[in-house]
């Protein structure tokens, strides 16, 4: 497909949001019945207007730092036609009436762009209808500006606050008949609004999951089996129970993780086995944990080691691949031609962890057959479903409060800590705050999968890429890849190379894998864009020129979700222009590199300029980003922040690895899984192309290109290609 046209986009969103529309209307009465707020307008569950003109807008998405708490209400406020200063943002509870409540996959914008503007537009229509009825004029004669309805002919105006009570009685208009604003009339969309919780953040208010306190609350640690699937044989629980402050210590038998949940939207973690310690303070619980003496039955994964995995991958790479995922043309014939140059390379990358700065936690209160939770989950609705399954209780008896999460990056798509907290609360019959130590977090993650990429490709005498063979060795069983660890036959450069083969082999794996910010893309971009640089070199071409030529082989329009070549060429050209690609004289040891990647509907190209010292310290001097996420960048300030953060995040990933020894994760804290520091952060310029496409998400797509941009720059500066991550394995680090 070339682009998602407006019509098909609307259809998709109507399907996905079917429940949303129903919920929106059916809850009108319930919202109105909330009690004595005489002049409060509640035409929907999202908008309420007080008589003093304060407009409360409900944000339905979880917030873990993407500014969705601002962004969704901005869309409503725009079409409602109110001044942003009038708006008070209210965080939704988890309730079917709100429709999709989910933060992940860069979907907040595509899931809400139409729906939230329609909510605002519908509320505005009801206010106009109320005014028209009051004045005895037609709706068509009325207009609105910043929180008021006007009737020009009679020079009458009424504020939304004045009209609220009456407007609440008006019929809710059919969303399809709404006339939404033209983009040129936007006053809020496209204008920076600062995070609504900034003041609470800078004054230390208790707004995060870890800060939740409920009366009578106890504190828990959960010491899980170090090897996935292990069981407790025995433990010194009697001694532990004697320790100061300890109230309970008990074995959690665990429940196996069902194997048939293919993605994060329905992942069921089961329950790992371990020892729960519940105490008067978290410190007491965690100190008691240090005295634990547990005998484990470590189960079938106890012998898994990273070194053995690497050996096995090497063997597999020499055998016939297990599966062929895509085959175009005849790549073997191309490799035999005498007029081609063949390049062969292998790229190796590790597991890495999400490690959001706020360790996983959840406060749960099981009482009288009902469960109440305070959670930072990115998928609270899924969470409720799996809790109902785990505890054998109906979903209607489970109430989940969404609390700000200290970073997500995909980790909070998974609800394992939520299940543990609920389980422990039910066992002890008291409210419990479960808090993982950082060690728990790094050693019990849903890791970004590692893998091994074997690549072979050919360029012809004219420098054209004519054949591409890729054998991916990863994890999984049989026909199934481990979660978020697959390769996809639609990934670039497939379709752009006439002879193309993608094959895969898998190895079994004990630890869990999962979606980490720009899943797969966050590392395949480095693999493919680095290899494309190798091919540009073989072709004797400039890396930008080679890429543009490759993109200009655009195949006929394909299916939805596949990269549009023109949009990508546009961001490549823009980033080349902004960075002065090929135009600036750089000193010896300093060079530029480029990478581009399409993911999550977003188009990004990035250039890095680096200086590499003799001892392989990389100073990233500057980064340029060009992105196309559609016709609007809804909140420009937050978007720049998020994009710069994606670059920093990608740099950190070049330093990180999770390894296995005897079935358990070796790394335990940030010293072994580092983050880039302020002094290593380059200036990052962000440029946008506003293309004629529906606005799409930004949480993820800006990340992937930075890894190859830096790695390619390092090659240009030093002649050494980074083919193994973390790059510290090749002696590279950031200055």
């Amino acid at each position: 497909m070339a682009k998602i046209n407006r019509r098909s986009f609307l259809q998709v969103s109507a399907l996905a949001g079917g429940g949303f529309l129903l919920g929106l209307y059916s809850s009108k009465a319930a919202a109105l019945a909330q009690g004595p707020q005489p002049a409060a307008l509640a035409p929907t569950d999202f908008v309420s207007i007080a008589s003093n003109g304060v407009v409360s807008i409900t944000a339905r998405n979880p917030e873990t730092g993407q500014h969705s708490l601002n962004m969704l209400p901005m869309l409503v406020a725009e079409e409602l036609d109110v001044d942003w200063k009038q708006v008070k943002i209210v965080r939704a509870g988890v309730d079917a009436k709100y429709g999709i409540q989910f933060t992940g996959g860069s979907t907040a914008t595509p899931n809400n762009w139409d729906a939230m503007r329609q909510v605002g537009g519908a509320a505005r229509q009801m206010l106009i209808a109320a005014a028209a009825q009051t004045w005895g004029v037609t709706v068509g004669e009325c207009s609105t500006t910043a929180g008021s309805v006007h009737h020009k002919a009679s020079n009458r105006s009424a504020s939304y606050g004045e009209l609220a009570a009456k407007a609440a009685q008006m019929p809710v208009p059919d969303f399809k008949t709404l006339k939404l604003k033209a983009a040129k009339d936007y006053k809020i969309i496209g204008t920076t609004t600062n995070d609504v919780e900034n003041k609470d953040i800078v004054t230390g208010k208790p707004i995060f999951g870890i800060d939740v306190t409920v009366p009578g609350m106890l504190y828990a640690v959960f010491h899980k089996t170090p090897v996935p699937g292990g069981k407790v044989v025995s433990a010194n629980l009697d001694a532990i129970k004697q320790l100061k402050g300890v109230r309970h210590a008990f074995v959690v038998e665990g429940k196996p993780r069902p194997s048939n949940f293919p993605n994060y939207l329905n992942d069921d973690p089961g329950l790992e086995a371990g020892i729960a310690i519940v105490a008067d303070s978290w410190w007491a619980a965690n100190s008691a944990r240090e005295k634990l003496d547990v005998k484990w039955d470590e189960g079938k994964w106890a012998a898994q080691n990273s070194a053995d995995i690497a050996k096995k991958a090497d063997e597999l790479s020499k055998q016939t691949p297990m599966r062929t995922l895509r085959k175009d043309g005849d790549v073997e014939a191309v490799f035999k031609r005498s007029d081609v140059k063949v390049v062969e390379s292998q790229y190796v990358f590790p597991f890495i962890a999400h490690a959001p700065l706020e360790p996983q936690n959840c406060t749960a209160h099981f009482k009288d057959g009902k469960l109440e939770l305070w959670s930072t989950s990115q998928t609270p609705q899924t969470g409720r479903t799996i809790l109902s399954r785990l505890l054998g209780m109906p979903e209607k008896d489970i109430t989940i409060h969404m609390v700000r999460g200290g970073g997500g990056f995909g980790r909070r798509l998974y609800n394992d800590y939520m299940c543990e907290a609920a389980w422990i609360s039910k066992q002890v019959g008291a409210p419990v705050k479960l808090l993982w130590a950082r060690e728990d977090d790094l050693q019990h993650d849903y890791y970004r999968s590692g893998g091994f990429q074997y690549l072979k490709a050919a360029v012809d005498a004219s420098g054209k890429l004519v054949g591409w063979h890729n054998h991916f060795v990863g994890y999984g069983e049989g026909e199934t890849f481990a979660h978020s660890a697959q390769v996809d036959g639609n990934e670039f450069p497939s379709r752009f190379v006439p002879n193309f083969v993608l094959q895969a082999s898998v190895m079994p794996l004990g630890i869990k894998t999962g979606a980490l910010r720009a899943p797969r893309s966050n590392v395949y971009a480095w693999v493919y864009q680095s290899f494309i640089d190798e091919l540009a070199q073989a072709a004797g071409k400039d890396p930008v020129q080679f890429r543009l030529e490759l993109l200009s082989n655009a195949p006929p329009a394909g299916t939805q979700g596949v990269m549009n070549a023109q949009r990508m060429m546009d961001v490549v050209k823009l980033v080349a222009e902004k960075s002065g690609w090929g135009k600036r004289q750089l000193p010896k040891g300093t060079a530029m590199g480029i990478g581009f990647h399409y993911s999550h509907r977003g188009y990004f190209a990035e250039v890095a300029e680096v200086t590499v010292s003799a001892n392989k310290k990389i100073k990233v001097n500057k980064v340029w980003v060009a992105g196309d996420i559609g016709s609007q960048v809804i909140n420009p300030g937050a978007s720049e922040n998020l994009t710069q953060g994606a670059v920093v995040d990608g740099m950190s990933e070049m330093l990180q690895e999770i390894t296995l020894k005897n079935g358990r994760v070796v790394q335990s804290n940030y010293h072994q899984h580092p983050l880039v520091k302020m002094s290593q952060t380059p200036p990052i310029e962000v440029h946008w192309i506003k293309s004629n496409n529906p606005p799409t998400g930004l949480g993820e797509p800006a990340l992937p290109p930075i890894l190859p941009a830096i790695a390619n720059a390092v090659f240009s500066a030093t002649g050494e290609r980074i083919r193994t991550m973390p790059m510290t394995k090749q002696g590279f680090s950031f200055a």
């Binding site: 730092g65 303070s281 970073g407 940030y670 010293h671 302020m678």
Partner: protein, 179 residues
């Protein structure tokens, strides 16, 4: 019995003297602004001031704070009006926000002894504070802005909305007209 001052108030503690200050502040005094990130001195989320010096509360046993004066994020201003807090909000620094209390405590300590820090001064004072979301460029710009706010407050009444100096930072303008 350990006695200490927290945000100007006298406090005492007769529990485990080895308990890190972090948990005393968070769970005994219910001051939740100081954050737990690593418990290992690696991230700076738990930064507080101990007798004015930026200190990792996760590694400091309560006993080491006996008779000391502690300041937490809740104590640097009654209402979020400290120039560092103001600059942080004006430049919309936070993403998830979790590291920011620790960042702000390190920044306040820096500005207290160096009212006009250079980028290099800022980097060296702030390098122990990790931000998983990568907001470093804004943190640096906000420290410059806070320095200006402080300086102008010293000479004349505070002016709202001072611009970031951006000196040597390449902090792109937040918004230049309609996008």
């Amino acid at each position: 019995m350990i006695k200490l001052k927290v945000n100007g108030k006298n406090q005492q503690f007769d529990g485990d003297p080895e308990m890190p200050l972090l948990w005393f502040l968070r769970d005994e005094l219910n001051l939740k602004g100081t954050k737990f990130g690593c418990g290992f001195g690696m991230c700076g989320a738990c930064t507080i001031h101990l007798n004015g010096k930026p200190t990792r509360a996760c590694l400091t046993p309560v006993s080491a704070a006996a008779n000391a004066s502690i300041t937490t994020i809740e104590g640097i201003s009654p209402d979020g009006s400290h120039p560092v807090q103001v600059a942080w909000q004006e430049l919309d620094v936070p993403q998830c926000g979790y590291c920011q209390a620790g960042q702000i405590m390190s920044a306040c300590a820096l500005l207290a002894k160096n009212p006009k820090p250079t980028d290099a001064d800022i980097d060296s004072a702030m390098n122990g504070n990790l931000c998983r979301c990568g907001t470093y460029l804004r943190i640096r710009a906000a420290i410059h802005q806070a320095a200006e706010l402080k300086a102008s407050a010293a000479t004349k009444p505070a002016k709202a909305g001072a611009k970031a100096s951006g000196a040597g930072t390449n902090f792109a303008p937040r918004k230049s007209g309609k996008q």
